[in-house]
């Protein structure tokens, strides 16, 4: 008998939780309908650029209460397409534009560098791109094959669908698959944390997130630094591009100017990107 009593009690509790949840949901829906902005700016495209665009939009909307900046995903190609067809005011791309797309107005707002990181205790500090590829495809599995100590390499990758993973795949893997044995983490922060803790780990994160707890490997002898990303000697980087159908005017221009201003650059730098000293490069 008593089981049933306690069972009922938990059911009642669950009941209450569901009800509170529904109430909150309704409240949320209602409040969302409350405010109306005068103008809306739609920014759509690459999911890699999306979080940075969202951070920019958030700051921009604090400064300009009258305007709503709506940031959407969809991927780089969708971003280019939506700028071309004017379904979005600004398209976002995290890959270089193809030849037939170069006629669109575009500006590189920043570059995202990718650092391959290892534990500070690891004496391997310089690898070739081919060696990194072999590690991640599973061909090389022991640090002794790379001049390190005799220990299994623990490879750490990001989850399927992550922009950082797809950047790593296109910049490093050259159509090869990342080994299914790789440990998968869902944020740059946890990858860095694991590499900092595990002497035999290797991982990749955005360049801006490299700190003293990990070592960024030299690739083909080139150090992973902001300078080398900017002068393009360090190859693991990709452009973050804003695209518009025609020369931007009005609210679109104001937002892009904000992104390229010192304030916008500071936001992007704080979020871990590499920005240009001279503003955007067209």
């Amino acid at each position: 008998m008593e089981h049933r009593v306690s069972n009922q009690k938990t059911k009642q509790k669950a009941c209450r939780i569901v009800k509170i949840g529904l109430a909150l949901l309704l409240a949320g829906l209602l409040s969302a309908c409350g405010e109306k902005k005068e103008a809306a700016l739609i920014v759509a495209g690459s999911t890699s650029v999306q979080p940075f665009a969202e951070a920019l939009a958030e700051h921009y909307m604090v400064l300009h209460q009258e305007i709503e900046v709506d940031v959407q995903g969809g991927g780089s190609s969708a971003g280019v397409m939506s700028a071309k067809t004017n379904t979005a005011d600004i398209g976002m791309s995290s890959r270089s534009l193809k030849e037939d797309e170069l006629s669109l107005w575009h500006v590189e707002i920043a570059r995202d560098g990718l650092a391959v990181i290892v534990n500070p205790k690891n004496n391997v500090t310089d690898l070739t791109l081919q060696q990194v590829r072999d590690i991640y495809s599973g061909t090389i599995s022991n640090w002794s094959q790379l001049g390190g100590k005799d220990a299994k390499i623990h490879i750490i990758a990001r989850e399927e669908g992550s922009g950082t993973r797809s950047a790593f795949e296109s910049l490093v893997m050259d159509k090869q698959e990342i080994s299914p044995r790789a440990i998968v983490q869902d944020s740059n922060g946890t990858v860095r944390q694991l590499v900092a803790d595990d002497p035999n780990a290797i991982g990749f994160v955005s360049l801006g997130l490299v700190d003293v707890t990990v070592i960024a490997l030299k690739l083909d002898g080139v150090a992973a630094t902001r300078e080398n990303v900017l002068n393009k000697t360090y190859n693991l980087s990709r452009p973050f591009i804003f695209i518009t159908g025609k020369e931007p005017v009005g609210e679109t221009k104001k937002f892009i100017d904000f992104v390229l201003s010192e304030e916008g650059k500071k936001i992007l730098n704080d979020e871990g990107l590499v920005t240009f000293d001279t503003g955007g490069s067209q």
């Binding site: 399927e160 669908g161 998968v184 869902d186």
Partner: protein, 281 residues
Amino acid sequence: MKTTREKLLSLAFFLIALSTLSALAVITLFIFIEGVPVIGKVGFFNFIFGMKWAPSLGYFGIFPMIVGTVLVTLGAAVIGVPVALACSIFLTEFAPKRVRTLVRPAIQLLAGIPSVVYGFWGLTFIVPLIRTYLGGPGLSILAGSIILAIMILPTIISISEVSLLSLPSLYKQGSLALGATHWQTIHSVLIPAAKSGIMAAIILGIGRAIGETMAVIMVLGNAVAMPGSILDPARTLTTNIGIEMGYASGDHQQALFATGIVLLVIIMILNSAAQYIVRKR
């Protein structure tokens, strides 16, 4: 007058009660609508028994994750169940009243700790221990099992304690009067008599372990390959959804819902088993 009001009230309560059921129905329906098409596309057999999960390349096999789920959960049961049973026997049979009033709320508190805190503790404490003393990356089935074993303790302890307490005191008195020692009474009279309640407690605990996501994401390593030992990283059905839902779209997103279907079915089977065992008594 009063009767209409009472009727209205009971109707209102009925409708509110129905709303919780409808939440279940809506969620189930939604998961099935979203998930079934991709199972049809990939093929039921390829989905359940496929060895390769690479959504960007069109591979949707969740068998390694089913194995991961089973191994992690079994591990949690092997570690957690004996501890939980010993604890509930101690609380009902041996503990002085003072100790009991202290320990019982403490165990309830264990249930109140958010799972992300368990995960974080596991990541900073259990994982380095395993890495240092047993080898491997530390993020492993063993780490997941240890964390889950702790998390299912409150469920198993409180339900099996209730079932031990609900036994008629005649059982114990009779056994002692026949000359059995206290321990003999516990293991050959009380535990067999409370068997169904204890079984239900274990099954509900296992259900909790299977459904846990956050803590497991942090300590399990989430590799999609079939694990070779308990020191290898693995991925469970829940963590597959939890780790990939962020950017998933299209078939990939639907495949995650399909993972949810498999999970839902497993949990439904477990819960009905627990209900059945309790009712049978």
